[in-house]
Symmetry: C3
Subunit: 274 residues, 3 copies
């Protein structure tokens, strides 16, 4: 679809989002639900979807939203960055890498800055940036169908979304490196044992149990939650900005490397089996 086009000229962050069905945003009972809604592409994130999410988080920051919740439509939670963001770039790979790095940095900063509770409802496999971002969430509820996979080395790339900092902090270097350097795919249970997932639910009762709980949480005093989150975040906000910037710079160089180009070309030209 046209929403996959890698570059559409500059768009002010305050510009009203164009209608896009690839990211759905709905609000009810104080909960703003942001849904990866591109099931035919396993919910891979196009450049336009990055922009839609930035805008959705910006709006939810200031409106009467109590809590923001991410989930996915269909079998996948999210298969990560859409690799055709690069291969379909019209301005050449260097420009695409540069634009991609700026967009990625803004995108991750919008998670660092989000001032209210942020929850992931991981309904199925999660890949790449949809996994690394979880280190910036306040709760991660996973179906036992979910898996967690960050095959950066396999694709000649490097970690993003502050995972080079949040993952070792959370799980220790020996477990973080297995994911971030060696691309080990984790089951929901393994991800729970490593602190990435708050709680795992059987697929059969997943949606019911999680949403019941979230509706209860959304009724707690909103200022208390916001202020407590601010206290927690304040301890490392500057560090997170710096890590994000460093990761994006590194990734921009990676995208132009032969290792990465070969891996992406090989990936795009085959039937994806992440």
């Amino acid at each position: 679809s046209s929403s996959e086009a890698p570059s559409q000229g500059k768009r002010g962050a305050d510009e009203k989002a164009r209608e896009s069905k690839d990211i759905l945003v709905t609000s009810e009972d104080g909960i703003t639900k942001i849904t990866f809604n591109r099931p035919t592409k396993k919910n891979a994130i196009s450049f336009q979807m990055y922009r839609d999410i930035i805008l959705a988080l910006k709006n939810a920051s200031t409106d009467n939203t109590v809590m923001a919740v991410f989930t996915g439509t269909g079998d996948y939670y999210c298969s990560g960055n859409d690799l055709t963001n690069f291969t379909s770039a019209t301005g050449g790979i260097e420009e695409a890498a540069s634009n991609g790095a700026v967009l990625l940095r803004d995108f991750v900063n919008s998670f660092i800055d989000f001032p209210k509770p942020l929850v992931a409802v991981v309904n199925g496999p999660a890949v790449g940036i949809s996994v690394t971002l979880l280190g910036l969430f306040d709760a991660v509820f996973a179906s036992d169908r979910a898996t967690f996979h960050t095959p950066f080395s396999q694709l000649g790339q490097s970690p993003e979304a502050c995972s080079s900092y949040t993952f070792p902090k959370m799980m220790g270097s020996a477990k973080a490196a297995e994911m971030l350097l060696f691309g080990k795919k984790l089951t929901a249970r393994e991800a729970w044992a490593q602190g990435l997932v708050t709680e795992v639910f059987p697929e059969s009762t997943f949606e019911t149990e999680v949403w019941t709980r979230l509706k209860t949480y959304a009724k707690l005093p909103p200022n208390a939650m916001r202020i407590s989150k601010e206290l927690i975040r304040k301890n490392e906000k500057e560090k997170l900005y710096a890590v994000n910037a460093e990761e994006c710079t590194t990734l921009q160089a990676r995208w132009l490397s032969e290792e990465c180009m070969n891996a992406i070309m090989s990936f795009v030209s085959r039937k994806p089996k992440l």
Copy 2:
């Protein structure tokens, strides 16, 4: 009892502690045992008890104590801050909040500064500040009867005792937030899985097993233990002071907020069921 009175004029930290039965301090075999001993109030901590603990830790820092151990009398370990510290304040809520913030800061600093091994023997439910403080302990042994509950948001409050820093560091943000933002009550087993508890024992053998082990530990070379603890603490002591100060300032403002006042009034006027 009179020890619950929220304010008794200034008391120098070096003043000899008045006899208080709400905190018991005993010493044997190099172990100074500090007991929450107010079972009729589920060992809730009055302003006087905060002062008694500060003094007990100060004394144990410099006398021949090898190790300090906290535990509780009766069913509870400790039900946290006594909320009547505020409602019974004679000088008005603003003065109580201000005094409370100063006292809390000194209290938490006395744990940050304690130079010898510090152990919690959690005999039953732990609530609020008795849970958050555990992030500053060197070992936490829990009965399988123990639970760990920090209902800050429910009470319109915010985390203290450096937990906004120690909990995310220890368990990752997705598990820390479930406790600190959403007030999830953990079983001893869950607290163990998240790093808050060193080991869980069956209630039937809890006291015997734990005290046998502690007596063994207390016979280790005391200087080696003190110096090793100093090495560990030095890595983040300045950070802990800063986090403590920030948390107390935040909490002082929280105590004066409508959310908090409503929650406390509602809590105090009902039969407590934490």
Copy 3:
């Protein structure tokens, strides 16, 4: 053997290593394998072995090695620092402590600086510095025969290899202190639960399973792995250097303390039963 002699005059780091059978270095399929090979002494590390490892890591940093892997010959992975490094010192204990602290600092820095994936294949009991170093590894695979023991207090000593920083960061203070202050010996399973071990394998299939996996990992794009590791390490490299320096200074003073001398003399004169 002569390789245990504590001081052999200054050796430049770029000097070609003398043949030593106590550390074996082999390379195959991009993997440089560094083996503690002194089974008659449970693979205890002599001063010469420290120097051999520094050199091996230096070489593997710049040659075509993709990944470095440590393991041990025989029943033990490594029983830690050879305590006769001190008792057999010819220049007196003060000189031995001073030389030891400099050597230890260089040794640990060579792990902090190693730019490629670093893996431990823990085939059996690991003691002291062979355990604390694991906090600087990218993956730790353990046989279910392995144990993890840091009896620093028992020996009047203090933590090294940045463990005063990496262990609390990885497992929380309540679990780190049980190892570092109280010298609790962990099973492989316990070490896994605390983040120190990436995965535990049954002894019967340990070698086969681990080496199959490592050979797969060693085929991943090497630049991607190196750059991802650099990103992770950059977040705390200065901190690690500072912690290492502080630990070595502390340990140098410890080695000269009565507590430590008594503990070492008592240890050396008895049949070792770590």
